[in-house]
Amino acid sequence: MSIPFFVFFACAVLAIAGALVLIVSREPIHSALALVLVMISLAILYLLLGAPFIAAVQIIVYAGAIMVLFVFVIMLLNAGVEERTNWSKLAKYAGLPLALILLLETAHWLFHAPIGVAIANGPGAPAPAASTTQLSLELFQQYLFPFEATSILILIAILGALVLARKEE
C-alpha cells in the first residue's frame, strides 16, 4: 500500500470522522473544530491532487479566517449546548432517509451515469502539479471578470456585515 493511498485513506477517515462529529456533538465549538479538521484533511487531499495553492488558500481562508470567525461568534454569543427540541416532524422523520437517498443517488451518479463513468475511469495519472503561475494566469486572464465581480461581492458583503452587526443607537 503506497504512500498516496495511505494519505488518502487517513485524510478521508479524518474528514468523515470530522463530519460525523460535526453532526453528533451538541457543543457548537466542537462542531467548529470538527469542521476545521475536515477542512485541513481536505487541504491535504488537495495537495495530494496536486493543487497546493488551493490547499493553502483552503487553509488560510477557510480554516484560518472563516472558521475563526465562526469560533469567534460562538464565543461572542457564548453559544451553549444546543437544546433538544423536535418541532419539525418533517426534518425528524424525512431528513435522514432523504439524505441517504441523496447520497445513494450521488454515488449512483458517479458510477453509473455516463459522465460519472467517463471520469471514474478517467486519467488518474498524476498531472503535473498545477503551478501557481498557471493558476494565476487562468484567473487573471480568462476569469478576470468573475474575479472582479467577486471582489465587488466581498466589498458589499463587508458593508452588509457592518450594517447588520452595528448596534442601533
Partner: protein, 668 residues
C-alpha cells in the same frame, strides 16, 4: 423659408403655452399667465402671417406643401407619418383660426379676470388652439383625427369649466358623448379609407380617388360609404341634425369659449373636413345630396327654434347651428369655396356676436335672459354698435360680410350644377328667419325701456382688452366680405381664385365646370349683366337681401312698434309656440328613445348581469380559489427553518432523480 420648413413651430407655440401654464400657472399671477397664453397665440399668429408670405412665393406645383416630421405609427402595411401640409385651404383656415383665437384670448383676459382657475382656463384654451391648428394643418386623416378628438376633449373641458355647476358638467358630458356618436362614424370611415386606398395621407388618397370613376345616384360604391361615414363625424362635430343637441347646452361654458370653440373654430371643423375631402365627396353624389339636405334642413330648423328663445346665448347657439347648416349646404351643392368663405365670415361675425353678448352679460352682471334687459344702447355704446354691425352682417344686409358669403351659397344652391329649388327655398326662408331673430335679439337687448332693476344692476362698459377685440372683429365683419366680392357688384372673385386650385385639382368634370362658371366667366368681368345666366343671378341675388330686410322690419314691428304683439301671437298659435320654445321636444324624444333604453340595458344587463354576475363572479371566484388553496398551502409555511431545509433536500433529491432519469434515457 423658416416657417414653411418648420411648420411644427406653429403647433409648438400654443402647446408650449399650455404646458407652461398648466405646470406652473397655478402659482403665477394673472399677468404672467396672460402674457404666456396670449403671447404664445399671438406668436403663432405672426408665424402664420410669415407662413402666408412664404407661401405666396411657392410655385404652383409645390402646392400642397407637405412636411414630414417623423414616422408615427407603423404596423404592417399601415404606416402613418406625422406630417403637416399647407395649401390655400389650410392658409384660410390658419388665418381665421389663429386670428380669431388670438382676439378671443385677449378678450378672455378681461372676461375671466374675476374667475377662479384662471391658469386652468388659459391652459385649456391654448391646448385647444394647438389641437385646432393640428386639425387644420394635418396632412393625413390620422393626424387630423388627433386634432379632431383633441378639440373635442378641450371643448369638453371648457364647457365643464365651472365643473362645480352640475348643469355645466352635464353639458360637457353631453357634448362629449354626442360628438362621440359622430366620431364613431368618422373612425369607421378612417378604417374604410385605409381599406380602400391603403393609405391615410391626403395626397395619396386624392391621387387614387382622382383615377376612380365618379359614382352616380344609381351606382353607389365605397366612396359614398366613406363620405357618409365621415359626414357622420362632421354632423356630430358641427352640430347638425340630428346631433345638434349638444351645442345649445354647451353655452354653459364661459362665453369666450362659446365664441371661440362653439362659433368660430371647432364647430366648423366638420365643414373644413368635408371641404378637405371634396375629391371623395365630389365623386359621391348621394353623399353630396345628403350633406346638402342636412345642411339646408338644419339651417331652417334651428332658425325656427331661434325665433323664440329668450336666453341671449341660446339664440346665438341656434343661429350658429343654422349658419353651419348653410356651410354644409354650400359644400353639398359643390360650392366648397363659398362654404369656406362663409365659414370665415361667420367666424368673424359670430365670434363678434358672442363676444358682444358676453360683454352684455358682463355688463348685466351675469344676466342672460333678454327679457330682463333692454335699453342698453346708451349705457354700453361700443358693445351696442359692434353687435349691431355683426347683426347686419349675419342678416345678410348688403355691404356686410355675411351678405357676400350667404349670397354665394344661395347662388350656388339655386344656380350651381347641383342646384335644387327646395334647398334654395329652405335656405332663403332660413335667411329671413335669421335676420328676424337676430334683430329681435338686438331690439330686446338694446332698445325699449330697461326691464331690470337699475339700482341692483349697475351696467358698465367692459374693459379695454374686451372692447378692442370687439372693434377689430367688427371691422372684419364689415370688410371681411369684400375679399370675395362677386362680380355682380363689380368685385373680382378674389377668394374664389385663391381657393380655386385646391378645389379644381382633383375635381371631376362637373366640379371644374362649376368652378369655371363661378370663377373664370369672361362675361362676368366688370359686373355688366349681359347673359341670361347673369339675369337669373341678379334675380336670385335679390332674394336673400329682400328676406333679410323683411325680417328686420318684422322684428322692428314686433319689438319696437308693438311690444305686446309677440304675446298675442304666442297665444294665437300656442301649440307651435310651445313646440318651438321647447325646441321640438327633441331632447325629450332622445331621452325617451335612446337614453332611457340605454340606461335600462346598461343597468340591468351590463351592470347587474355582466358586471356583477359574470366579471365579479370570475374575479371573486379566482380570489376565492386563491384564498382557499393558499389556506391549504400555507400549512407548509411552518416558520420552522428545519422543515424548510427538509423541503430543500426533497427538492434536491427529486431533481437528481429527474436528472438521472433523463440521463438514463439519453444513454439508453
Amino acid at each position: 423659408m423658416p416657417i414653411l420648413s418648420h411648420l411644427w413651430i406653429i403647433l409648438a407655440l400654443p402647446l408650449a403655452g399650455a404646458a407652461i401654464n398648466g405646470l406652473f400657472g397655478k402659482r403665477w399671477p394673472q399677468s404672467a399667465v396672460n402674457s404666456v397664453a396670449v403671447g404664445s397665440v399671438s406668436l403663432a399668429f405672426l408665424a402664420v402671417l410669415e407662413l402666408v408670405r412664404e407661401f405666396s412665393h411657392l410655385a404652383q406645383d409645390q402646392i400642397p406643401y407637405v412636411g414630414n416630421y417623423f414616422t408615427w405609427i407603423t404596423a404592417g402595411s399601415f404606416r402613418v407619418d406625422f406630417s403637416l401640409q399647407v395649401d390655400q385651404l389650410t392658409i384660410v383656415m390658419l388665418l381665421t383660426v389663429s386670428f380669431v383665437g388670438m382676439l378671443i384670448h385677449i378678450y378672455s383676459t378681461g372676461y375671466m379676470a374675476h374667475e377662479g382657475g384662471y391658469y386652468r382656463f388659459f391652459c385649456y384654451l391654448n391646448l385647444f388652439m394647438f389641437f385646432m391648428l393640428t386639425l387644420v394643418m394635418a396632412a393625413n386623416l390620422i393626424v387630423m383625427f388627433v386634432g379632431w378628438e383633441g378639440v373635442g376633449l378641450c371643448s369638453y373641458l371648457l364647457i365643464g369649466f365651472w365643473f362645480l355647476k352640475k348643469s355645466a358638467a352635464d353639458a360637457g358630458k353631453k357634448a362629449f358623448i354626442t360628438t362621440r356618436i359622430g366620431d364613431l362614424g368618422f373612425m369607421i370611415g378612417l378604417l374604410l379609407v385605409f381599406w380602400t386606398f391603403n393609405s391615410e395621407s391626403f395626397g395619396e388618397i386624392f391621387l387614387q380617388a382622382g383615377h376612380m370613376r365618379a359614382e352616380s345616384a344609381t351606382h353607389v360604391g365605397v366612396l359614398t360609404a366613406i363620405c357618409l361615414l365621415l359626414f357622420a363625424g362632421a354632423v356630430g362635430k358641427s352640430a347638425q341634425l340630428p346631433l345638434y343637441v349638444w351645442l345649445p347646452d354647451a353655452m354653459e361654458g364661459p362665453t369666450p369659449v362659446s365664441a371661440l370653440i362653439h362659433a368660430a373654430t371647432m364647430v366648423t371643423a366638420g365643414v373644413y373636413m368635408v371641404a378637405r375631402m371634396h375629391p371623395l365627396f365630389s365623386r359621391a353624389p348621394i353623399a353630396m345630396f345628403a350633406v346638402a339636405v342636412v345642411g339646408a334642413v338644419t339651417a331652417f330648423y334651428s332658425a325656427t327654434i331661434g325665433l323664440v328663445q329668450t336666453d341671449i346665448k341660446k339664440v346665438l347657439a341656434y343661429s350658429t347651428v343654422s349658419q353651419l347648416g348653410y356651410m354644409f349646404l354650400a359644400c353639398g351643392v359643390g360650392a366648397y369655396a363659398a362654404g369656406i368663405f362663409h365659414l370665415m365670415t361667420h367666424a368673424f361675425f359670430k365670434g363678434l356676436l358672442f363676444l358682444a353678448a358676453g360683454s352684455v352679460i358682463h355688463a348685466m352682471g351675469g344676466e342672460q335672459d333678454m327679457m330682463k334687459m333692454g335699453g342698453l344702447r346708451k349705457k354700453i355704446p361700443i358693445t351696442y354698435w359692434t353687435m349691431l354691425i355683426a347683426t347686419l352682417a349675419i342678416a345678410g344686409i348688403p355691404g356686410f360680410a355675411g351678405f357676400f358669403s350667404k349670397d354665394e351659397i344661395l347662388e350656388a344652391a339655386g344656380a350651381g350644377p347641383h342646384a335644387n329649388l327646395w334647398l334654395w327655398l329652405l335656405g332663403v326662408i332660413g335667411a329671413g328667419l335669421t335676420s328676424f331673430y337676430m334683430f329681435r335679439l338686438v331690439f330686446l337687448t338694446f332698445f325699449g325701456r330697461p326691464r331690470f332693476d337699475e339700482h341692483k344692476v349697475h351696467v358698465h362698459e367692459s374693459p379695454k382688452n374686451m372692447t378692442v377685440s370687439l372693434m377689430i372683429l367688427a371691422f372684419c365683419s364689415i370688410f371681411g366680405g369684400w375679399f370675395a366680392a362677386p362680380h355682380l357688384v363689380g368685385g373680382t372673385e378674389y377668394f374664389e381664385h385663391f381657393l380655386h386650385p385646391v378645389f379644381s385639382s382633383y375635381a371631376v368634370q362637373a366640379a371644374t365646370e362649376q368652378a369655371g362658371s363661378l370663377a373664370g366667366n369672361p362675361g362676368a368681368e366688370g359686373g355688366m349683366a349681359s347673359s341670361p345666366a347673369m339675369e337669373l343671378l341678379h334675380a336670385l341675388t335679390g332674394w336673400p337681401v329682400i328676406v333679410g330686410i323683411l325680417g328686420l322690419l318684422v322684428a322692428w314691428w314686433f319689438y319696437i312698434k308693438k311690444p305686446e304683439a309677440p304675446k298675442l301671437l304666442a297665444q294665437k298659435i300656442h301649440g307651435l309656440y310651445l313646440l318651438l320654445l321647447n325646441k321640438y321636444y327633441v331632447d325629450e324624444i332622445y331621452a325617451a328613445l335612446i337614453v332611457r333604453p340605454l340606461l335600462w340595458i346598461s343597468t340591468n344587463v351590463l351592470w347587474h348581469g355582466v358586471d356583477q354576475g359574470l366579471i365579479d363572479g370570475i374575479v371573486n371566484g379566482s380570489a376565492r380559489v386563491a384564498r382557499e388553496s393558499g389556506g391549504k398551502v400555507r400549512e407548509l409555511q411552518s416558520g420552522n427553518t428545519r422543515s424548510y431545509a427538509a423541503w430543500v433536500v426533497i427538492g434536491a433529491v427529486g431533481f437528481t432523480v429527474l436528472l438521472l432519469g433523463i440521463l438514463g434515457m439519453v444513454v439508453h
